[in-house]
């Protein structure tokens, strides 16, 4: 890795001003996404602003109609949290299926959402549940947040502080994982909640997480696996890699959507 300036501020405000001052500054929380990129030379930030010493961002709170997850909550925390398991079990199941124990012990929701890896799981949960991403300066609806592979609505010096998930009536998660890495080849969350009936897909498209309107319409009239079983997505927009070609991925989206509804 290239050398960098390391900062560990004690507050979000201090982190923001350090980011503003740093030359090509980056926030680091768990580091599970950023450090591999730095090691591959795909990222070479001049300054790293660690959130490790910022307190108050690692809680999970029941806000009635919403569950608020602090940006520094690890995947392990979300998976184990009683509130999440009771009120949005699909979200707990999703968090439990991320990577492996070591990744879940360090990787954070804020990091995952900010990174917006096209094969990451959280973007699908945020989009399907109609989550709100809270930052140091504003609130962003998930619909407006994920702008394409590794690309979000965040400003360069903006820091996520929490993600708020409206509690759905029902929601289900199904993922076809890449063997070994457990990244999604196709992961689908189907939810029926305050934001309406939503189906969000991760892992399948090079543009990152997306919603499937036709499936949502079918589920809105009848929230049954059979409703989506006949709905296919176009193979044209699908990713192609070693794990799967575009046609197979498109097929998986339908199968996973069906299974997500079954899980709900």
């Amino acid at each position: 890795m290239e050398d960098f300036q390391y900062h560990a501020p004690g507050s979000v405000d201090a982190a923001v001003s350090l980011l503003r001052d740093a030359e090509d500054g980056k926030v680091v929380a768990g580091g599970m996404s950023l450090l591999p990129l730095m090691k591959l030379g795909l990222a070479a930030p001049g300054g790293l602003v660690s959130l490790g010493k910022v307190s108050g961002l690692d809680g999970i709170a029941d806000r009635g109609s919403e569950i608020e997850v602090g940006a520094l909550c690890t995947h392990a925390q979300v998976a184990a949290a009683e509130i999440v398991r009771e009120r949005i079990p699909a979200l707990a199941a999703m968090a439990e299926g991320i990577g492996d124990a070591q990744v879940r012990n360090r990787g954070t929701i804020g990091g995952s959402v900010a990174h917006n890896d096209p094969a990451a799981d959280y973007p699908a949960a945020c989009l399907a549940l109609g989550a709100t991403i809270a930052t140091d300066r504003r609130e962003i609806a998930a619909d407006d947040f994920f702008l394409g592979m590794f690309f979000t609505a965040l400003e360069e010096d903006e820091v996520i502080t929490a993600v708020r998930f409206p509690v759905p009536t029902r929601a289900g998660w199904a993922k076809f994982p890449n063997p070994a890495s457990k990244y999604a080849v196709a992961g689908v969350m189907a939810a029926d909640g305050p934001a309406g009936v939503r189906v969000a897909v991760t892992g399948a498209s090079g543009d990152g997480v997306f919603r499937v309107a036709e499936m949502e319409a079918a589920l809105a009239s009848s929230f049954e696996p059979a409703s989506v079983a006949g709905v296919s997505v176009s193979a044209e927009a699908m990713l192609s890699d070693d794990a799967a070609g575009p046609e197979y991925r498109a097929h998986l989206v339908t199968v996973m959507a069906k299974r997500a509804v079954e899980e709900a």
């Binding site: 450090l35 591999p36 392990a76 124990a101 990744v103 457990k182």
Partner: protein, 155 residues
């Protein structure tokens, strides 16, 4: 260069390392604690797994500075005096270490598991070790060892 201060295996240690050093590089090259291994250096193999505040983490994806002020244990710190930790002993008995290169990381994952869940099912052991690649054993003997250690520790 920067000075990193770590509390590792009960000792307060300090050493000067380049700013970009990970926890793994600091342990191995800064402090001479070579028990933790580098298999891939990208967070994929788990051979570098250490226990940070009771949790199994990848030392190759953790910056050394991120471990400051926290309780760190490595494979060298698992034994109690001259007695190997029950998991270490059972690994030896069961033949769970062949080449032994993944073993330090797997031991750390196993110990972290048993400290939270003293009598895990085989499925729970499998799930806890999914981040540690072993190329020799096919994992069966590793599960046997972890389960046997859990029984010993429960006695």
């Amino acid at each position: 260069m920067q000075v990193v201060r770590l509390r590792v295996n009960g000792d307060e240690r300090a050493c000067g390392v380049p700013a970009h050093y990970t926890l793994l590089e600091t342990l191995r090259y800064g402090l001479g604690l070579t028990g933790s291994k580098q298999g891939c250096d990208k967070g994929d193999c788990g051979a570098c797994t250490v226990i940070l505040d009771g949790r199994a983490v990848l030392s190759c994806l953790t910056l050394a500075r991120e471990a400051e002020g926290r309780e760190l244990r490595t494979v060298e710190g698992l034994a109690i005096g001259t007695e190997p930790h029950p998991v270490q002993d059972q690994f030896d008995l069961a033949g769970a270490a062949q080449c032994g290169f993944c073993t330090p990381g797997i031991l750390c994952s196993s110990v972290a598991l048993l400290e939270r869940n003293p009598s895990p099912s085989r499925e729970e052991v499998r799930a806890a070790l999914a981040g540690n690649l072993c190329r020799c054993t096919g994992y069966e003997k590793i599960y046997d060892a972890v389960e046997a250690a859990a029984r010993k520790m429960g006695q």
